[in-house]
C-alpha cells in the first residue's frame, strides 16, 4: 500500500483517509495510557488527574516529590531491593538450564521431542493463578514425592522463602529462553561444530568458542524475557512469597488495591523507562543476530 493511485475514486479516497484515522485512534488507545502516566507522576498534588496548574504549564503544578518518596520510603526501597535480588538469580537459573536444553533439543535425533517441548513450554501456557496455586501447595510440603521411591524428606519448606520465589520464577522464565534460543539455533550451521571438532576442539571448547558467540544474541534476548517475566511477576510471588520477599510489582499491587498513592505513578514511569531500554536492547540484538546469521554460510 504505497499511497493512493492517481485514478482513485472519491469513495476510495474517503476510505483511505478514514482508515488511517481509525488506525491512528487505535494506536492512540495503545500508547496513550502509558504516556499519560508520565506527566501525571510529576503532579505536585496528590491527585490522579491533571490539575489546572499542570494544564497551564505552571511550574508550580509540577514536582518530583513522588520520586523522592519512592527513593526514600523504606517499603518501596525494600521492594526494589527484593526485585533486584530475585530476578537476576532466577534469570541465571533459567538461562543456564534453558540454553543447555535448547541445544539438546536442536540436535537431529531427539526421542520424544514434541512431548519434552510441550512440558518445557507449559509454564507459559498454564494460567499464572493455577501455577501459583500448585506452587503454594507443593512448596509448603517438607518433602518431594518421587515415583517408585516414596518421599524424599527435606529439612525445609520453600513457601515464604527467597529460594522458593527464585525457583518459581526460574520455572516461569524457562519457556521464553527455550523459544528464543531454539529459534536462534535453527539458523545455526551445525557443520561449524563438526569443523571445530575436526580441528581437535573438545565439546566444551567448541561450545564456548564457536557455538556460544553465534547464539549469544538469542541467549541474551531469552534472558531478557526471563528477567522481565520475573521482574514483572506478581501472582506467584503473592502466593509463594512472604512479606520478606515483597517485590516491586507486589508493592504496586497492594498499593493499588488498598491505599492508592501517587508514588505508584512515579514507579510506573521508572518502569516505563526500563521497558523502553529493554526494547531498545532487544532490537539491537535482533539486528546483530541477523547480521551474524547473514555471515554464516547456510
Amino acid at each position: 500500500m504505497s499511497g493512493l493511485p492517481p485514478y482513485a475514486s472519491t469513495g476510495q479516497r474517503v476510505w483511505y483517509y478514514s482508515f488511517r484515522v481509525i488506525c491512528g485512534v487505535i494506536f492512540f488507545f495503545l500508547i496513550a495510557p502509558i504516556l499519560v502516566i508520565i506527566p501525571l507522576s510529576f503532579n505536585a498534588e496528590n491527585f490522579f488527574t491533571f490539575t489546572p496548574e499542570m494544564l497551564a504549564f505552571d511550574p508550580a503544578g509540577y514536582s518530583t516529590k513522588h520520586y523522592q518518596d519512592f527513593f526514600t520510603n523504606s517499603d518501596w526501597q525494600l521492594a526494589l531491593r527484593n526485585s533486584l535480588k530475585i530476578a537476576p538469580v532466577a534469570t541465571i537459573l533459567s538461562v543456564s538450564l534453558g540454553t543447555l536444553a535448547a541445544i539438546g533439543l536442536s540436535q537431529s535425533h531427539v526421542p520424544f521431542r514434541r512431548a519434552i517441548m510441550a512440558v518445557l513450554i507449559s509454564p507459559m501456557i498454564v494460567p499464572l493463578i493455577i501455577s501459583a496455586t500448585g506452587m503454594y501447595f507443593f512448596y509448603s510440603n517438607p518433602y518431594i514425592p518421587i515415583p517408585f521411591y516414596g518421599k524424599l524428606e527435606l529439612p525445609f519448606t520453600l513457601t515464604g522463602t527467597y529460594w522458593g520465589v527464585v525457583l518459581a520464577h526460574a520455572a516461569l522464565g524457562i519457556p521464553f529462553v527455550i523459544i528464543t534460543v531454539t529459534a536462534t539455533l535453527v539458523g545455526f550451521d551445525q557443520s561449524l561444530t563438526r569443523a571445530a571438532a575436526n580441528m581437535g576442539a573438545g565439546p566444551v571448547t567448541t561450545f564456548f568458542r564457536v557455538q556460544m558467540p553465534l547464539i549469544l544474541p538469542g541467549v541474551v534476548s531469552g534472558g531478557l524475557f526471563a528477567f522481565i517475566t520475573s521482574f514483572d511477576e506478581v501472582v506467584v510471588v503473592l502466593f509463594v512469597g512472604s512479606a520478606g520477599q515483597k517485590t516491586l510489582p507486589w508493592q504496586m499491587f497492594t498499593g493499588l488495591r488498598e491505599q492508592i498513592s501517587p508514588t505508584i505513578l512515579a514507579v510506573a514511569t521508572i518502569l516505563i523507562a526500563v521497558s523502553v531500554a529493554l526494547l531498545f536492547v532487544l532490537e539491537m540484538l535482533r539486528r546483530r543476530s541477523e547480521r551474524l546469521r547473514g555471515l554464516s554460510p547456510s
Binding site: C23, L100, A101, I129, T180, V234, L256, A268
Partner: protein, 504 residues
C-alpha cells in the same frame, strides 16, 4: 551379499546405530537437568493441585473410629446414630482435641454444612469434662492396679490381655501415641485418660475378661450420646451425621460437584439451592468476558496488523514500536494507568466533562465493573492479537489483491474473498492466544473489576487466601486448567507450539 564393515571391523549398520544411540543419549543428557528442574518446580506442583482437588483424608484421619462405626448407620432411618457411634466419637474427639485437629476438621466440614465448625469447637472444649470419670474412679477404687501407669503399660504389652480387651488395647495405643507425640511424656508414667477407662468399661459390660476382674454392674452407665447432646443438640441433627458419612471416604468428588454448583448428597449429586449457585454463573461470565475481550482485540488488532503489514518497512518498524512498547511495559504499570484514567475523577471522565459529552454530576462509572475489566484487558492483550496477525499477513503477497482488482473485483470483494480468507490462520492463532491468556487473568480483574467484573481466577485466589477452602480452590483450578489445556491443544493443532513468536 557381503556385509559392509566400518573401519574398526564392526558391521557398518551396527556402528551407525551405535553412533545414533550415542547422539540421542547426548541430547537427552543436555535436556535432562532442565526437564528435572521443570518437573520438580512446576509439573509436580500442578499434580499436587490436581490431587488436592479430590483428596479428603482429613475426615477418616481425624475421626477413624467414628467413620467405621457410622458404616452401620442408615441415613434414611431419620434417626441420629446410636450409642456405639457416640462412643467412637468420644474417643476420636478426645484425641483430636489434643492434636488440635478437631477445629481443622470442623472448618473443613463447615464448607459443606454451615455450623459444624462451631459444633466441633464447642464439643472439643467440653469433651474432657464429660461425666465418664465415674468409670475411671470405679476401676481405680475396685483395684489400685488400674491406677498404676506402669501396670497399664505392662498389660498392654501382654498379648493375652490385648486379645481379651482388643478395643481397650487399640484405644490405649492411640492414647500412648498421643502422649508421646503431643505431650512428650512417657505413657508408662502417665495414668490413662478417661476415654481409655470408658473403652474398658464398655468391654467389661460386654463380658470381656479383664486383666484384674472388676464387677462393673454397680456403676451407673453414662450415655455419651446424652453427653454430646448436652453440649449441643445439633449432634442429633441428621444432616451433621450425613455430612460426616458422605465425606468419610479418602477421596471425594465433592469439591468438583461444589465447583459446578452441585451438592454431594447421600444418593449422589444433587442440585444446590438457587441462592447458593455462584460458580456456573462465574464460569459463564469468565467465558463471555474473555470472548468479548477477544472480539475487541480482533476488531482493533486487524486494521493495525493490516496497516503494519502493508506499509513500507521503515514506517512499519517505527509504528511497530507503538505496539511493542505496551507489550513490554509492566502489566502493573498498564493496570495502574487504567485505574487512574478510568476513575470517576480521572482523566477520561474529566475530558468527557470538558467536551460536554457528560454532565459533571453524571460522570460515567467506568471502573470496578465489567466495562473496566474489558477496556483494560483489551489494551493489555491487544499486542498478543496484533503480533500473530501481523506475521501471517506479512506472508500474503500484495499482488493477490491487485490481481483480484484487475479482474474486476471491487475493493471490498477483493478483500473479503481473497485477502481475508488467507488471514484467517492469523485470526485463529491470535484469538486462541488472547482467549487462553484472558480466562486465567487475575491481577487486572482484581484491581479494576470490582465485584461484577471478576473472573474465576479471583475466586480461586479468594479460596486460597481468605476462605482457606483449598480443596475447592484446587477443583476450580483443575477445571480452568482443563479448559486451557484443551485450547492449548487446539492452538498446537492450528499453529504449532514451535511457532510461538515473541515480540515480532
Amino acid at each position: 551379499m557381503t556385509e559392509v564393515l566400518a573401519a574398526d571391523g564392526r558391521p557398518l549398520k551396527a556402528s551407525l546405530n551405535r553412533a545414533l544411540r550415542r547422539q540421542k543419549l547426548r541430547a537427552l543428557a543436555l535436556i535432562a537437568p532442565l526437564l528435572i528442574f521443570i518437573l520438580v518446580s512446576f509439573v509436580m506442583p500442578i499434580a499436587d493441585m490436581l490431587f488436592r482437588s479430590v483428596e479428603n483424608e482429613i475426615v477418616s484421619d481425624t475421626l477413624p473410629r467414628t467413620v467405621k462405626a457410622l458404616e452401620g448407620w442408615d441415613s434414611s432411618s431419620g434417626e441420629a446414630p446410636g450409642e456405639a457411634v457416640f462412643n467412637a466419637l468420644y474417643t476420636d474427639m478426645a484425641l483430636a482435641t489434643e492434636y488440635k485437629s478437631h477445629t481443622r476438621l470442623g472448618s473443613r466440614l463447615n464448607y459443606e454444612l454451615t455450623g459444624v465448625s462451631s459444633l466441633f469447637r464447642k464439643s472439643g472444649r467440653r469433651v474432657k469434662r464429660f461425666d465418664t470419670d465415674v468409670y475411671a474412679d470405679a476401676f481405680r477404687d475396685a483395684d489400685p492396679a488400674y491406677a498404676d501407669p506402669g501396670q497399664w503399660a505392662a498389660w498392654m504389652s501382654d498379648d493375652t490381655v490385648r486379645a481379651a480387651v482388643p478395643v481397650t488395647a487399640a484405644t490405649y495405643d492411640a492414647w500412648a501415641k498421643m502422649i508421646v507425640e503431643v505431650d512428650n511424656d512417657d505413657p508408662a508414667k502417665e495414668e490413662p485418660w478417661d476415654f481409655v477407662y470408658t473403652a474398658l468399661y464398655n468391654e467389661a459390660v460386654a463380658g470381656a475378661s479383664l486383666p484384674v476382674a472388676v464387677d462393673v454392674s454397680g456403676v451407673e452407665p453414662v450415655s455419651l450420646r446424652d453427653q454430646f447432646v448436652e453440649v449441643d443438640k445439633d449432634w442429633l441433627d441428621i444432616d451433621v451425621w450425613q455430612t460426616i458419612k458422605i465425606y468419610a471416604p479418602k477421596y471425594t468428588n465433592g469439591y468438583f460437584l461444589n465447583s459446578v454448583d452441585l451438592l454431594k448428597g447421600p444418593d449422589g449429586a444433587e442440585a444446590r439451592p438457587e441462592s447458593e449457585r455462584i460458580y456456573v454463573v462465574l464460569f459463564i461470565r469468565t467465558m463471555i468476558m474473555s470472548l468479548s475481550i477477544m472480539g475487541m482485540c480482533v476488531l482493533l488488532g486487524y486494521p493495525i496488523a493490516w496497516l503494519l503489514a502493508n506499509l513500507r518497512d521503515r514506517t512499519a518498524n517505527l509504528l511497530m514500536i507503538l505496539v511493542l512498547l505496551p507489550f513490554w511495559t509492566s502489566l502493573l504499570v498498564r493496570t495502574s494507568a487504567w485505574k487512574v484514567l478510568l476513575q470517576q475523577q480521572g482523566v477520561i471522565n474529566d475530558v468527557l466533562v470538558w467536551i460536554g459529552l457528560v454532565a459533571d454530576d453524571g460522570r460515567l462509572q467506568l471502573i470496578n465493573n465489567q466495562t473496566g475489566t474489558i477496556i483494560a484487558m483489551t489494551h493489555i492483550l491487544l499486542p498478543f492479537m496484533i503480533l500473530p496477525l501481523y506475521s501471517v499477513m506479512k506472508t500474503i503477497p500484495p499482488s493477490y489483491l491487485r490481481a483480484a482488482k484487475s479482474l474486476g473485483a471491487t475493493d471490498w470483494t477483493a478483500f473479503w474473498r481473497v485477502y481475508f480468507p488467507q488471514s484467517v490462520p492469523g485470526i485463529g492463532a491470535g484469538c486462541i492466544l488472547v482467549f487462553i491468556l484472558s480466562i486465567g487473568y487475575y491481577i487486572t480483574p482484581e484491581l479494576v473489576g470490582g465485584t461484577k467484573g471478576v473472573f474465576i481466577s479471583n475466586r480461586i485466589a479468594y479460596h486460597i487466601s481468605s476462605s482457606l477452602n483449598w480443596g475447592l480452590a484446587a477443583a476450580l483450578g483443575s477445571i480452568l486448567l482443563a479448559v486451557v489445556l484443551l485450547l492449548y491443544w487446539v492452538y498446537d493443532k492450528i499453529v504449532g507450539i514451535d511457532n510461538v513468536k515473541l515480540g515480532g
